[in-house]
Symmetry: C2
Subunit: 290 residues, 2 copies
Amino acid sequence: MSQTDTTSPVTTREEHASCGGRVGFYAHASTSLGLEARFGLFLPRQALAGERVPVVFVLAGLTCTEETFLIKSNAVRFAARHGLALVASDTSPRGAGAAGEDDSYDLGTGAGFYLDATAEPWRDHYRMGTYIGQELPALIEATFPVDGARRGIMGHSMGGHGALVHALRAPQAWKSVSAFAPICHPAAVPWGEKAFTAYLGPDRATWAREDATLLLEAGHTHPTEILVDQGEADQFLHDQLKPELLEAAAAKADQKLKLRQHAAYDHSYWFIQSFIADHIDHHAAILKAG
Amino acid sequence: MSQTDTTSPVTTREEHASCGGRVGFYAHASTSLGLEARFGLFLPRQALAGERVPVVFVLAGLTCTEETFLIKSNAVRFAARHGLALVASDTSPRGAGAAGEDDSYDLGTGAGFYLDATAEPWRDHYRMGTYIGQELPALIEATFPVDGARRGIMGHSMGGHGALVHALRAPQAWKSVSAFAPICHPAAVPWGEKAFTAYLGPDRATWAREDATLLLEAGHTHPTEILVDQGEADQFLHDQLKPELLEAAAAKADQKLKLRQHAAYDHSYWFIQSFIADHIDHHAAILKAG
């Protein structure tokens, strides 16, 4: 990217040298969202030298933006060590104008749940499923030296849900997957019930493809081991996250899952930064072997 | 600290397990500032087990708070590795009510310059010099298991200035010192001239004790090597930071200085996080040998 490349669909907002590579924040006109969208990108030194590098998409949780994960997770230093790119999407469309989108932290702005809404007033713009599943990877791979054949996905909380469902539905597109404190069974918890009712409508049959536990129960698996870290002092563990349901569904589906539970850790990025090295290692081992 | 310890002068705002230790944010009634003040603290696992550990104070730059350095620098993971505590102060008093304190980013709120103001309307509350030099270390050492005899100081930009002047004036109190992109000669650059004129008045003779280059020229040195990292693409390098003046003064004073200049890096925390490990190593090597 260059700030003077007027033919690119991507506008550079800021770029910073970091850890031998470069962190940048960009904007583009999203066709799936029908709005301008922003993303963050770390390119390691190998990519700046022209090599096409493996890439991990990182999906943040409720209320976050495209900046949050890159700033707070400490992931950049480990991606640099492995020569991986990182792509951080936003958590929802911005400025869609849907009635009520700014009324609560867990629905609408900052809370897109990485799915395509089918119900009013959301369905015109809240299409984060297509955005993450198709548009953003295609844009990134057309614009930057990253290798779409070696692409992984990870996320936190709502973004952990997003990473799991995208990888389980399209394991050939997402070669590696991990999550911090994911919403494991959104159809069965308050955050997910509220969001799915609003975005997808009351017919719960339509919710199944957006729920990692239900996808496993329906026979969707991923060929690699899924890494999940969960803090035992997480304030959302019992009411919203429910990793034990994911674990049970994975066992029935013969899905390899490494679920690690950590005493004293909560839901914050202080937890994520404590274990991020293991996640980047996990993705690097799969993506660089492929 | 415990949230139910009603005898402590320190109030816990939040605490999070991180990297085997604990990050917390606290408030207390500051006698030197005459206001409530906030600070951040990382305690490594050794401290949580009761051991008195070495400590590094971290001073942030203009517009930052007590949260910024701990969140953005990636320092916690390296402090954990070495068993060091980190103390992050705020960058100014908050809510002092001084006329004009919120009018610009480089004077007043968020811009205390780690000195004691002597001029109106600042002198009643803008006493960050005493706060950093005496009050906060004494409070920390009375409240948490950190060892005041093994105490270092580091900072960024305005906070790099603060770290250098505090360490040069009181080398027995601050056993190790380093800085990222410090304001090396504030009396000779716009940021410093504006702040010193406001806080100290127009008599430049009173500025000398608040300027690292002038302190070196006056014979103040530190018994250890000072580590300074500077990005060559820093937008403030030539007008505000001037490391070449610090380097010249250090050479004349026989002050050991390791000044590293890094192509492509700017003034941001993306730069800091790229070299933070070396700074924590620097402090650990001195503090743990002492």
